[in-house]
């Protein structure tokens, strides 16, 4: 069983070699230049940067992103279900398995309803 993981190990090694190699080559071959304030500044297309890089974003971005990922992931559960539903139908458990997924979708819908009522999707709402 361990043998099946050899490719994984190999690709891990490749990734490490490329990442570390790039840095290592830079250190070995590169020339250490002089530093000044202008050089340490963040590069924004030649303009002087404005404001702090760690500016705060509205929480709505995070909420929407999170909810998108949540509902996105739910679909993952449905693919294997959809593939194997017919098999269950043949063994007589079709309705039960269908009911289970229905319950799952309903639970997800509760979350959606909750988010909707709380105004998560209302971009103009304050707070």
């Amino acid at each position: 069983m361990i043998r099946e993981f050899v490719p994984v190990l190999f690709s891990l090694g490749m990734a490490l070699a490329i990442a570390l190699g790039g840095i290592g080559l830079g250190i070995v071959i590169g020339k250490v230049g002089r530093r000044n304030r202008g050089k340490d500044m963040a590069y924004e297309c030649g303009k002087d940067p404005i404001g702090s890089p760690s500016a705060r974003f509205s929480v709505k971005f995070y909420l929407v992103a999170m909810i998108f990922i949540l509902f996105d992931i739910e679909v993952i559960f449905m693919y294997p279900w959809a593939v194997s539903l017919m098999g269950f139908k043949q063994s007589g458990m079709g309705w039960q398995v269908f009911g289970l997924m229905l319950a799952f979708v309903l639970l997800v819908e509760v979350g959606h309803l909750y988010a909707y009522q709380k105004g998560v999707f209302d971009w103009n709402k304050r707070g």
Binding site: V110, L113, Q117
Partner: protein, 485 residues
């Protein structure tokens, strides 16, 4: 079909109902929701006592069992839920007058996870249930958004919980790699009678580490005091009692009943558990001495209790297992009333500093007496309930011949009495402060604390009901329910 009406499903449904009600009912008409949640909680508790012995739905049969341990501990968790709901309703959340419904609904989800944990027999089930518990608790700990301490608590719990889950998952992965299964009985069958491979031991170590975070055992305890102090008090109570108990139920299930109840594992992990127990008892007791905030104080007291239970667990026998089960119930009965009091103290004074206890016995003799009995029970002083718990720990250690654990346990019990006497001293010796707050404790607090104190005394003098419970929890399989066979 009827089997779907098990406590876990109903708990989740209740939580969903509460959240839906919160979303759909227009604001201003929600005052009855807290009362509804209390009623539902109590109904669920009664249902669980009646139902916790029933087998789980067939679909789950591979993942869950119904045995003595789940029979005894599902009501434990739901009882915690009822208590938490009762005090959540009164939690002072700042400007908002009515407690937000999410604060009441999330504990239901968390409790569902705890109940699932109590009967899990597969590491996958354990992982899913544990996450259900933990994610709800991350939210709840940070729920008091206007207080920086609460946010800090939520953050610390999230990071520490994530770390512990990481250890656990890694352990499960290693286990699967070595034993080829995540189900307890298969692991036992596969591993019985042969020496444990290093990979298996590594897996057990990782899983133990993950659970040690949950029970706040040394050296994985450091998060507990900060989180307990910052989190809203009902959630602190839930963390300190239900979540810790869940960790121990899992340890019992993994190390005593299934999966790793192997001589080859025990040979390595008995000393480790005992050493952890000794360190935990010592640190919890000594670090509690200088505490002046009641919530931090209870956190360290909880760490010390966890240490005693680890010592009992380390004896690796049936008596040690029963001891842990009984100890958890004694811990619940002694600690929960104190948390109820702490919340009322916060309502009156704004924080849980111990100086607010000064002279309490003259102002409010009833609560002072009840608290005194609870603290002494935690200290393990006879004739209170905690003494029976400590006695059985010591007996288990003696009969297993674990003299170092016994010696440390005894010394720390003495030091422990020293720190449990600190609040008692404050209540009875210190003079009342000159400025007494106008707000008084509500009258129900008097009754709850006196009732709790009386329970300590009565069960201390006649521990038979608890002994019955312990005997039940040791039964491998049960038919019937908690009220009788």
């Amino acid at each position: 079909m009827i089997r779907w009406f098990c406590p876990e499903v109903l708990l989740v449904l209740t939580g969903v109902t509460l959240i839906l009600a919160d979303a759909l009912i227009p604001p201003g008409k929600k005052e009855w929701l807290p009362r509804l949640s209390i009623l539902l909680g109590i109904a669920l508790f009664i249902f669980t006592i009646w139902q916790s012995g029933q087998p789980m739905p067939e679909v789950w049969a591979n993942l869950f069992v119904t045995d003595g341990l789940s029979l005894v501990f599902k009501p434990f968790f739901v009882l915690c839920l009822v208590g938490v709901t009762l005090i959540s309703v009164r939690y002072p959340m700042g400007r908002e007058e009515v407690v937000r419904t999410e604060f009441l609904a999330l504990p239901f989800f968390s409790t569902a996870g705890l109940c699932l944990l109590a009967s899990a027999r597969d590491f996958l089930a354990i992982f899913v249930a544990l996450e259900l518990v933990a994610i709800s608790l991350y939210l709840l700990a940070a729920f008091h958004r206007s207080r920086a301490a609460s946010l800090e608590a939520g953050m610390k719990l999230l990071v520490m919980g994530g770390l512990s889950t990481g250890f656990l998952v890694m352990g499960i992965a290693w286990l699967y790699a070595t034993a080829g299964s995540t189900e307890f009985s298969r692991i036992i069958l596969e591993q019985a009678g042969r020496p444990a491979s290093p990979a298996l031991l590594f897996a057990v170590g990782l899983i133990l580490t993950g659970l040690a975070f949950k029970i706040a055992a040394v050296p994985f305890h450091a998060w507990a005091p900060d989180v307990y102090e910052g989190a809203p008090t009902p959630i602190t109570a839930f963390l300190a009692i239900a979540s810790k108990a869940a960790g121990f139920v899992l340890l019992l299930r993994i190390f005593c009943l299934g999966a790793f109840a192997l001589d080859s594992v025990g040979w390595v992990f008995r000393p480790i558990l005992l050493t952890m127990g000794i360190a935990t008892v010592t640190l919890g007791t000594l670090a509690a001495l200088p505490q002046r905030n009641l919530k931090r104080y209870l956190a360290y007291s909880g760490i010390a209790h966890a240490g005693y239970m680890l010592l009992a667990l380390g004896t690796w026998g049936e008596s040690g297992m029963g001891t842990v089960a009984g100890y958890l119930w004694a811990y619940l009965l002694a600690t929960f009333p104190v948390f109820i009091f702490v919340q009322e103290l916060e309502r009156v004074h704004g924080n849980a500093d111990m100086r607010h206890l000064d002279g309490l016995a003259q102002r409010d003799p009833g609560p002072a007496l009840g608290l005194t009995l609870c603290f002494l029970s935690m200290a393990g002083l006879p004739p209170l309930l905690g003494f029976s718990a400590k006695l059985s720990v010591f007996t288990a250690l003696w009969s297993a011949g674990e003299i170092p654990g016994l010696v440390v346990g005894v010394i720390m019990a003495v030091v422990g009495l020293g720190f449990y006497l600190v609040p008692i001293r404050a209540m009875y010796w210190e003079r009342e402060p000159d400025v007494v707050p106008a707000q008084r404790f509500p009258s129900f607090l008097v009754w709850i604390l006196l009732l709790a104190g009386a329970a300590q005394l009565i069960l201390g003098f006649q521990p038979r009901p608890l002994v019955r419970l312990v005997e039940k929890s040791l039964a491998p399989m049960v038919s019937g329910n908690l009220q009788g066979k």
